[in-house]
Symmetry: C2
Subunit: 337 residues, 2 copies
DNA sequence: CTGAAAGCGCTAACAC
DNA sequence: GTGTTAGCGCTTTCAG
């Protein structure tokens, strides 16, 4: 147990009081230059490191921010964390990570467990109904929501513009000459999935008035996408393009069509959403909507950090994704508009 | 600022002393049943949540473990964290995550910053020379190393058996009938890369005695793999198989060969290491060595947690990876041995 | 500029 | 069983 060296030891060695040590170490101005040097030397010699719990108990600051996520699976969260970590480091903040493992009912526990450990938190709750969140966030906790649908609680929110992204994709497909565009939806209780579906419907009405929406169920994973692909193959009047609510499902479709001997995009076009790394490597490469997830995370933290000084922006800020046109939707016709 | 409710408020409402509140809330036995109920009710009514910093200052426990990583990029770290998080939750531990962004010199800072914040830490330092680590870990800090080469400091280590994995791959290639097996190495200062190279050399001597090692430089990324692929294409006496030290480089090779019109595996076989998700989706699907990263992380945490009670195992425990044979190394001949 | 001292909110002896 | 009290290691008035 070598970690017994406290501020007192430093004070003794430097022949000053603990108060002076504290001031010197925290870079305050009212310390005589010579004394400061003595303190710093003593601290270095003893390898003194301030004890965090003590410091945060008395200063009421933790210099750490909490990150409450639904899960830790996959590339989305790793990218999100990376973006957050970059900004955290910039502001010398630590990151306390917690996942509630897809169980919304554990979200409250996770949030409460952060009391006294963090100065603020970033919370993500991708469920359509996040109202339970409001209670656990009720008190003066600083928080910013990520991709979470919860308004009227005075919290800032950063989210991906799913509606706009889906709209851009439908527009692209229409421009490429596709006329019967099917949509493979995501989980019903997922807010992102819901917005993408709405974007599809709205854009269809806008760019292909008269075209009927063709919506298939899906669950954001490859196998449900594959199933949707087979369902499409079995349709009497087959669509000429499929837009899946995320890339994994689009890949599932792609494989279903491959197996059936269809050529993509000649026989049928396929598009996804997210731009996962795989998207550019499959054959044909997948047209999709790219989201800068790291930016989403970084911006969320910046919002949180800024909110502690000024008033927190209470609005929903949307991150605009962009279309990445690849081979899987290369158009039959070339009507430019 | 609703978080002003302290243990005192609960004590007052429940008409007991703070000590009793503490005991009741911490589930100690010496509390009268009726009193316990009163305390619990009061706590619930006031929405009391213990203040972490205060608790850990006085109890000298933080119930959190630190995770110090070289980076947060990509699937390896996300899987590692997922495995760790699973075990952490099991033991009701929080996770403080910190990355030193590939700068070994910042590792010490990261480690020191954890003082008083964690009960122990999981540290990963993939550099061949991790000796600087020893100093910053010198005191009685509980720690377990992950994929880190540092012996003699009395710390447990969990690592992937890179040597064994590379050996298994060479054996597989030899069994498939390949005779001139080239190796695309990883960064020189990376410990995993170094061990994989050794495994290749040793296995070559073992399974194909007389065959000369053919080693190309690489940097663990796709472009260096691609460059190595082109270098191989330019060789007078071309190898019939390429084993890259990781999957991304193997993919780079694959694309180089595709571009050159070579057929894999008929003209040349390609193999990687890691089994990233992409590996099964490329064409031809990539033979590789699969590592259960989540298990690596989970086991590391278990080791850390166990070490606090019993004596920490000071040895290096190796996680055995396994061969995943796919299309990219389908053999020309069928000599079984 | 510096020191003494009062807490921060909680746990853990130690009494009763 | 329960209350009193002394810290945990640090920051922060408040004097000087």
């Amino acid at each position: 147990m070598g970690d017994v060296v406290t501020i007192r030891d430093v004070a003794r060695l430097a022949q000053v009081s603990v108060a002076t040590v504290s001031r010197a170490l925290n870079g305050q101005q009212n310390v005589a230059p010579g004394v400061r040097v003595r303190v710093l030397d003593a601290a270095r010699e003893l390898k003194y490191v301030p004890h965090h719990a003590a410091r945060s108990l008395s200063s009421r600051k933790t210099r750490t921010i909490g990150l409450v996520l639904p899960d830790l699976h996959g590339e989305f969260f790793s990218e999100l964390m990376r973006g957050i970590d970059l900004v955290a480091r910039e502001h010398d903040q630590h990151l306390l990570v917690s996942s509630y493992h897809g169980h919304p009912e554990e979200l409250g526990v996770a949030l409460r467990a952060m009391r006294g450990r963090v100065d603020g938190m970033l919370v993500m709750s991708p469920f359509v109904d996040s109202s339970a969140l409001a209670q656990d966030l009720g008190d003066g906790q600083h928080a910013v929501l990520i991709n979470t649908h919860l308004t009227g609680v005075g919290l800032g929110t950063l989210a991906i513009d799913n509606h706009g992204g889906a709209r851009a994709m439908v527009q692209h497909l229409a421009k490429q000459g596709f006329r019967r565009i099917a949509f493979v939806a995501g989980p019903q209780d997922n807010f992102d999935a819901d917005q993408r579906l709405r974007g599809y419907r709205d854009a269809l009405a806008e760019f292909l008035p008269g075209a009927e929406p063709i919506v298939l169920e899906g669950a954001f994973d490859e196998s449900s996408g594959n199933a949707a692909g087979h369902a499409i193959l079995a349709m009497a009047e087959r669509p000429d393009a499929v837009f899946a609510a995320n890339d994994m499902m689009a890949l599932g479709c792609l494989f279903a069509f491959h197996q059936a001997g269809l050529r993509v995009p000649d026989d049928i076009a396929v598009a996804g959403f997210d731009d996962i790394p795989l998207a550019r490597y499959v054959h044909p490469s997948l047209t999709t909507i790219a989201v800068d997830i790291a930016e989403l995370g970084g911006l969320a933290l910046r919002t949180l950090l800024a909110g502690r000084e000024a008033d927190m922006p209470r609005d929903v800020r949307l991150i605009a994704p962009h279309l990445v046109a690849r081979a899987s939707t290369r158009g039959a016709r070339r009507d430019s508009s």
